[in-house]
């Protein structure tokens, strides 16, 4: 089913008791297998409002990401939370939508500086599991009017409602992008170097580490963005700050630097390795120790060490490695039978699981929205 608008969607949901599989472009098949007829949001698309001078865009959920990004770029702006394209990683095809990005709270390397998708999400409209049309938040940057269901909807993977419209804060594109690249560091030293950079006043917008593999040595990337002169200044300062961290190179060509970071964003190198792919969110200084326990075939650290992408042997539940550490692991890529056996999302402690169950029962009283996706 492909409802043309919110009212039609509400009617579909009101008139069914059968499970529904909610889809945007279908490029992020993350989560447990979902039964039911597919409802896609792609017919609900288009820009509702864009005010560059207010740093705000309002778009319907089914709008292709490419359209949103193109319009923003034409005005020298962008989505600062840097959402990844999951297609290469997951081998999916189709057209990613803004609604899908929000539903999965997709947030890239710049999360450490600017925030996640949920931090840029100003307002939502959605249809809940009873078929009610609900709005929350708005299109202004500061809004504490009532409960923040906007954040609740970000990352809820369509289990609380079907997003129909989202409003987002956007930011200017920088004049220049540069990477400071440290070569040959082991994971522990790389994490320490990234922490030093992130603890400096030089406004780091990315800190990622690719460990050595059979073909190449390790590389640690530190990104700065902004006006030309400011980027040049901060690159020089960072080189000085990190001079004890060994071999330092610099990529000052903005286009080349951006390519490095889009590869990091899409986890290109690690995705190419065969096996189940996990995403771990941990305390950055725990990253190297946890990585040692994973027995992974390939690893990428982002967010200064706090985000680990790891490819492991198929059908391995690596959550046992996380015991004793604060954080969580998501099984992002695995075949269907593995996803039936191993929970995609970290099982919650009982009191939080009870809250989650309670919220889902309220927002989806007929238990029809993406059943099984989040467990």
């Amino acid at each position: 089913m492909n409802p043309a608008d919110e009212l039609e969607l509400a009617e579909i949901i009101q008139n069914t008791t059968a499970p529904l599989a909610i889809r945007g472009g279908g490029t992020r098949p993350i989560g447990g297998p979902v039964a039911g007829e597919t409802v896609t949001t792609t017919a609900m698309n288009g820009v509702v409002l864009y005010e560059p001078g207010s740093l705000t865009i309002v778009v319907r959920a089914g709008t292709p990401m490419a359209d949103v990004e193109k319009l923003l770029a034409q005005n020298g702006q962008r989505l600062a939370f840097e959402p990844m394209d999951h297609r290469p990683m997951l081998g999916s095809t189709g057209t990613p939508t803004i609604g899908g990005v929000v539903a999965a709270n997709v947030s890239g390397p710049r999360r450490i500086q600017s925030g996640a998708c949920r931090d840029f999400l100003l307002g939502v409209r959605f249809v809940d599991g009873a078929g009610n049309i609900i709005k929350n938040g708005g299109r202004v940057m500061k809004n504490v009017t009532g409960y923040d269901l906007v954040k609740l909807m970000a990352g809820s993977y369509g289990t609380l409602g079907v997003l129909t419209e989202v409003s987002l804060k956007v930011l200017p594109q920088p004049q220049a992008t540069a990477s400071v690249i440290l070569r040959g560091l082991n994971n522990d030293d790389a994490q320490k170097a990234m922490s030093r950079a992130l603890g400096s006043p030089f406004d780091i917008s990315g800190a990622a580490h690719l460990p050595a593999d059979e073909t190449s040595g390790s590389e640690t990337f530190i990104r700065v963005e902004g006006f030309d002169s400011s980027v040049a200044y901060r690159v020089a300062q960072l080189k000085d700050l990190l001079k004890s961290s060994g071999d330092i190179a610099v990529q000052t060509d903005s286009v080349a630097a951006q390519k490095q970071w889009s590869d990091i964003r899409d986890v290109t190198a690690v995705s190419a390795v065969d096996g189940d792919l996990w995403r771990l969110s941990v305390k950055p200084s725990d990253g190297p120790a946890i990585a040692r326990l994973l027995k992974a075939k390939a690893v990428q650290f982002d967010w200064g060490g706090g985000l680990i992408w790891a490819v492991v042997q198929k059908r391995t539940d690596l959550r046992s490695a996380l015991q004793g550490f604060n954080g969580h692991a998501t099984l992002v890529r695995a075949n269907t039978s593995t996803r039936r056996q191993i929970a995609t999302f970290q099982p919650e402690p009982a009191p939080l699981a009870a809250l989650t169950r309670g919220l889902r029962a309220k927002f989806d009283p007929k238990s029809i929205l993406n059943q099984g996706l989040m467990g």
Binding site: G53, S54, T56, G76, I112, G115, A116, R118, D119, D128, N132, I133, I134, N136, G138, R139, V140, M141, K142, V144, T145, G146, Y147, D148, V150, K151, L152, G155, S156, L160, P172, Q173, Q175, S195, L198, G199, P201, D203, F227, Y233, S281, K283, P284, S285, W303, G306, N326, G327, T330, F345, Q346, E348, P349, L352, L355, T356, L359, K362, F363, M374
Partner: protein, 477 residues
């Protein structure tokens, strides 16, 4: 402002409750004398006062848990209180409630510069969080005007902002985890030193829930390295329209100042008479602050001044030193005090799209004439968060009501142009009955259902946030 009628059955439990609290708390932490409970009769919205039945001052999460367990068992409403600086009546008691004050929970539990976090107890004041890390050149970014006094607990409850959130975000963007006691006394931990939550974003909905979902006792907060420096430029304009256009153009030009503050003529005049900051005599004034190294600051200020110059400014005053920066900020920082010298005032907090700024200011001026009450505007222009200050005389019968009616009209206008009722102060009791103007019945129902899940008996901070009639049946159940 209508508040629920105190329940005689609850009031009759007072002495039993005192006994039960004394069994789990030191005696000085249980306040029941009517002279002493008066200290908790209001917050910074002083127009409304109501002494609570009791107040308790726990020092540990365990004590908070024991208190809530007793109140849950006995069906007694609980009003959590940080430092009582809410401008929206968020900590206003009901006559039959227990005030749970977290001021004694004020320790720093962990500072971790490598991971850029600090873990504190929630009664700690906002400014003293920065105070705990500034010797290492770090700071906690959200900076509400009351930061010297306000508690992190209240910041989380109201999702507080401040002047610098254009760059650094508000509380919710800087809060990484909480330990929270549920109304039934159970303790939950959400988030922590990692950057995102697993599963539903419960932390996101807890922040800004005005103390209605649980009592936060500990918070993990993001700390940041201080920038190398910061300096403002002050720019005066002939009209509000031009000042508003200038703000939009600066934002469009790719400059991201940490703060863009706006003052209109009535406010400029009042602060000049009060603080003598030497502000130009003009219709509208912007204070724009940027950060970085000296040369980065010079570069950004030059870009801003280039944009401003196109608009024929009355005056441009670029700070070149700390002393000059202090002088530029002096008037802005004393604006509220200056308005208070003239008369009593009510401070509003609606947010509007930046593009609507000139229209909204014109309409406020017209309404000011109609109501016969003066109003000064001082606000965070970069993010559209307005703070109209309506002057009134609290001793003049009917003036407060007139002022409230004017305020409500301004907030309706904010919603009408695509904005919202409150940008950083919270709904509390103040804007409770205006919620219908921003949200329809289904929108509100969705929010109420969140409360149903976290606090099924509706005991936490009752009669706030939602229109009273929409919660009556739930509170009575």
């Amino acid at each position: 402002m209508e508040m629920p009628i105190p329940d005689p059955a609850i009031l009759a439990k007072k002495s039993s409750l005192i006994d039960q609290f004394l069994a789990v708390l030191p005696s000085e932490a249980v306040i029941f004398d009517e002279h002493e409970t008066r200290a908790y009769e209001c917050d910074a919205l002083t127009a409304y006062k109501c002494p609570p039945m009791l107040a308790v001052l726990p020092s540990t999460t365990q004590e908070v848990s024991a208190i809530l367990r007793i109140c849950h068992q006995e069906g007694v409403p609980v009003v959590p209180r940080g430092s009582g600086t809410s401008l929206a009546g968020g900590a206003l008691p009901t006559a039959d409630c227990v005030i749970l004050g977290v001021a004694r929970l004020n320790d720093v539990l962990e500072t971790d510069y490598e991971n850029r976090i600090i873990r504190v107890q929630s009664g700690r004041t906002n400014l003293s969080v920065t105070g705990a890390v500034e010797h290492n050149e770090f700071f906690y970014a959200p900076d509400p005007s009351s930061q010297l006094a306000c508690a992190i607990a209240g910041n989380i409850a109201m999702n507080s902002g401040g002047a610098h959130c254009l760059k650094y975000g508000v509380t919710t963007n800087n809060l990484m985890g909480v330990r929270m006691v549920m109304m039934d006394g159970s303790v939950v931990d959400i988030g922590g030193a990692h950057l995102d939550a697993s599963g539903l974003d419960l932390l996101g909905v807890i922040c800004g829930s005005e103390g209605q979902l649980g009592v936060v006792t500990e918070a993990t907060l993001r700390i940041l390295r201080k920038p190398e420096g910061a300096r403002p430029v002050l720019i005066g304009f002939d009209t509000n329209e031009v000042a508003g256009a200038c703000v939009s153009e600066i934002i469009r030009a790719g400059i991201l100042p940490v703060a863009i503050e706006f003052m209109d003529r009535p406010c400029i005049r009042a602060t000049e008479n009060f603080a003598h900051a030497g502000y130009p005599d003009c219709e509208a004034l912007l204070i724009i602050e940027v950060e970085g190294s000296d040369s980065e600051i010079d570069d950004q200020l030059a870009r801003i001044i280039d944009i401003a110059n196109v608009h024929n400014p009355v005056e441009i005053r670029e700070s070149k030193s700390e002393a000059e920066s202090a002088k530029i900020w002096l008037g802005r920082k004393s604006a509220f005090g200056a308005m208070g010298q003239i008369n009593d005032y009510m401070c509003l907090d609606g947010t509007i799209p930046v593009s609507s700024l000139p229209h909204v200011l014109t309409r406020i001026k017209e309404m000011s004439g109609q109501y016969g009450l003066d109003v000064g505007n001082v606000f965070h222009a970069g993010d559209g968060n307005m703070h109209p200050l309506i002057l009134f005389d609290a001793n003049k019968p009917g003036d407060l009501e007139l002022c409230e009616a004017f305020g409500a009209d301004i907030l309706r206008l904010c919603v009408e142009v695509g904005g919202c009722l409150t940008g950083e102060h919270g709904v509390g009791i103040e804007k409770r009955d205006l919620m219908h103007t921003q949200y329809n019945k289904q929108d509100l129902q969705a929010q109420l259902s969140v409360k149903d899940v976290f606090d099924p008996k509706w005991l936490l901070n009752p009669a706030k946030v939602f229109p009273l009639d929409s919660t009556t049946s739930r509170r009575a159940a």
